[in-house]
Symmetry: C2
Subunit: 404 residues, 2 copies
């Protein structure tokens, strides 16, 4: 008789955003007359930029003609896209990353969930707390997290690095040495980040202790401050200790287009075994490439027109972020983030848990946000709003909140 | 110090088709004057059908307007696509599969590699031999296959079900009871299949022994004979023992478009735990949906025009299959398959191994095929040619082979 992977049974509840979607759907069904404003899930609302739309139309046409039809993509992704990535995201910043260290994928969610597969089950992970729930959940499924304590909402074998107002949302080096360190910078959900000098300390720490940093740079396009690294490879020595995961979802609005990439440097090795080769084997065996049309869309992100257009989108969202931050402050909320990231992280009003404030906002203001505790135990007492709505909706949501 | 997943070190060589690609590239580089005809990897050559191209253009336009922009897709896939799948692939054949038992994905390769994750590592797999290498490779990575013996080319914990000319390519019930049974029907690479009555025996066997059948139906569109099931759910009792994986790659030429789906019936349970819920959790946590544009392309596959157009493509490839079969027979080869599948499975000439014949064909006829041994030890002495080339190239390849 077959048996299931029992690790799945350990997962408490459903995936955070699936849970929120269900809760919101139930509310909407009961209250069809109350239009909701969604500042919860980190989904964008601005349409895909014209230069990218044009590139996709062209690629669709190519797929319709035998002479220009494209079947299976190359294992690592098309050279035209990997070239554009290297030129723009690495060479332009002085990082020595080569085209064959880039692995094009269907998005950073898949990559950040799958990357743990190439490591031993015995490896100990460290995560910022709060953080994007996929890191922990994917490790739970793999059996790497030990036992869950519902009282503390913590896994016995996960090293939590609390990031709260008390430490200015900067993770501290853990007492027990982790093997795998997940860093999401700028951070989801707190919207905060580290300076380049602080990040360099993490790279040095990883190289010294023999840890690998799994660096999620999905929000890199939102960095506005000068002393923040756009890639971990701007730090000296990162090539021997870091894998970088990047997304096109937030810089170019590809949440429904699906494209991302992972950088696995060839210098990253474990006793002579190349992690690059392992990921190549994984990529070649369990994945069959991002669509040709989507890879062409990705290429257009780096065209002069594309760059100009997506820059405006990022500015649009950051204007929302400023408005939310300002508006909440004026209404007496304590607010963080929103400077180098499209996320506003606020303290829930005195005496309200994250989920209580979620219900309060949903029912009283018809605004959907994300409860901080969904990102980790130290997120309790916090709440995330995203800047990805339309400007009009963002202002409308603030008005509703002001009236509470 | 971090450690790697040691299971990867057990994998002998690289993924089959990556290995072939490298070998062919090396030959081409040395012999730039010799144009190759590729009948190796199962990649299609006909362009995407006009009705599907039209649907993709429309979807691209939608993505370019705020009012019709689509961000993150629903976890299971868009309802419009799941509805079309259920209506056409299941209801029309009398199978009771509901829309929320369909999980839209980026392709059957990903699904067939990932599906093993929801089962216990201790579970024992059974595979047809020869078969699509992803099944075994993904289980090696998960640590489910034991020790590899390079002499027999077999894994100690894998149950091989030889499918050779001797048993008419029909797998026999294994002596040791497996927990997970991979069946790919019509079969890749042998091109053969089972009758519906034979498949019913497998369903009965699985229900009796408490096994799960992982049913890969990627080549279903090529079935031409009456008594062959188009879905395993045509068999009584399959809902309690089978997961079906389907692809749009071979029926609609989506190898570079990327779309597939998995069916996990709600009736499929293990001690009260629903595998449907587990796969939903996996899907929601480690995947973020197929692109909106691609899901609209999938919907168009089921439109009246789409159906008509892809039917012609399948007929085109099957004309190739007949030509290859006929041509090889005339030249004295022993040939199988090609009736319910786009694959021709031939016996290599006396005294030649699969890889020897690969080199022989590559160097002497400049034709690329796939060595049978790459699909499993019982594939030794066989060779696969695909019908996915153009008709002209297919005939040219046969002419070259005739001259050998």
């Amino acid at each position: 008789m077959f048996q299931i992977n029992e690790n799945y049974q350990k997962l408490p509840g459903s995936y955070l955003f699936s849970a929120i979607a269900k809760k919101v759907a139930a509310y909407s069904e009961k209250n069809p007359d109350k239009p909701l404003i969604r500042l919860g899930i980190g989904d964008v609302t601005q349409p895909i930029a014209p230069a990218i739309i044009e590139a996709m139309h062209k690629a669709v046409d190519e797929m319709g003609q035998a002479e220009t039809f494209h079947g299976y993509a190359p294992d690592l992704g098309y050279a035209f896209l990997r070239k554009a990535i290297v030129e723009n995201d690495y060479k332009a910043r002085g990082c020595e990353i080569s085209e064959d260290e880039i692995f094009v994928s269907d998005g950073a969610k898949s990559d950040s969930a799958n990357i743990q597969e190439i490591f031993a089950v015995e490896n100990k992970i460290a995560v910022c707390d709060p953080v994007y729930p996929v890191y922990v959940d994917s490790n739970v499924m793999a059996g790497r997290t030990g036992v869950y304590d519902p009282d503390t909402e913590r896994w016995s074998d996960v090293i939590y690095m609390p990031c709260t107002a008390e430490n200015n949302f900067a993770p501290e080096f853990p007492k027990a040495a982790p093997d795998l360190i997940y860093l999401c910078l700028p951070n989801n959900p707190t919207g905060t980040t580290l300076t380049k000098a602080q990040l360099q300390e993490w790279v040095d720490y990883a190289n010294k202790t023999g840890a690998v940093i799994l660096y999620d740079g999905a929000y890199e396009a939102y960095i506005s401050e000068e002393d923040v690294a756009h890639s971990i490879y701007e730090c000296k020595g990162a090539q021997t200790c870091a894998i970088e995961l990047k997304s096109f979802s937030k810089n170019a609005g590809f949440t429904g287009v699906r494209l991302g990439y992972a950088v696995v440097p060839k210098a990253l090795q474990c006793n002579g075994v190349s992690l690059h080769d392992m990921w190549a084997r994984r990529h070649g065996t369990k994945f069959n490439g991002a669509p040709y049309i989507v890879q062409r869309a990705g290429e257009a992100v780096y065209s002069p027109e594309g760059k100009e257009q997506i820059k405006k989108q990022v500015a649009y969202y950051m204007k929302n972020a400023s408005a939310i931050k300002q508006g909440l402050k004026e209404n007496g909320y304590t607010v963080f983030g929103g400077v180098n990231a499209p996320y506003i992280w606020l303290k829930t009003p005195e005496g309200m848990t994250s989920w209580e404030f979620f219900d309060f906002l949903l029912e009283r203001a018809n605004v959907v946000g994300t409860p901080g505790s969904g990102f980790g135990p130290s997120g309790e007492g916090y709440f995330r709003l995203t800047a990805f709505g339309s400007y009009e909706n963002t202002l409308a949501a603030l008005e509703r909140i002001a009236k509470l």
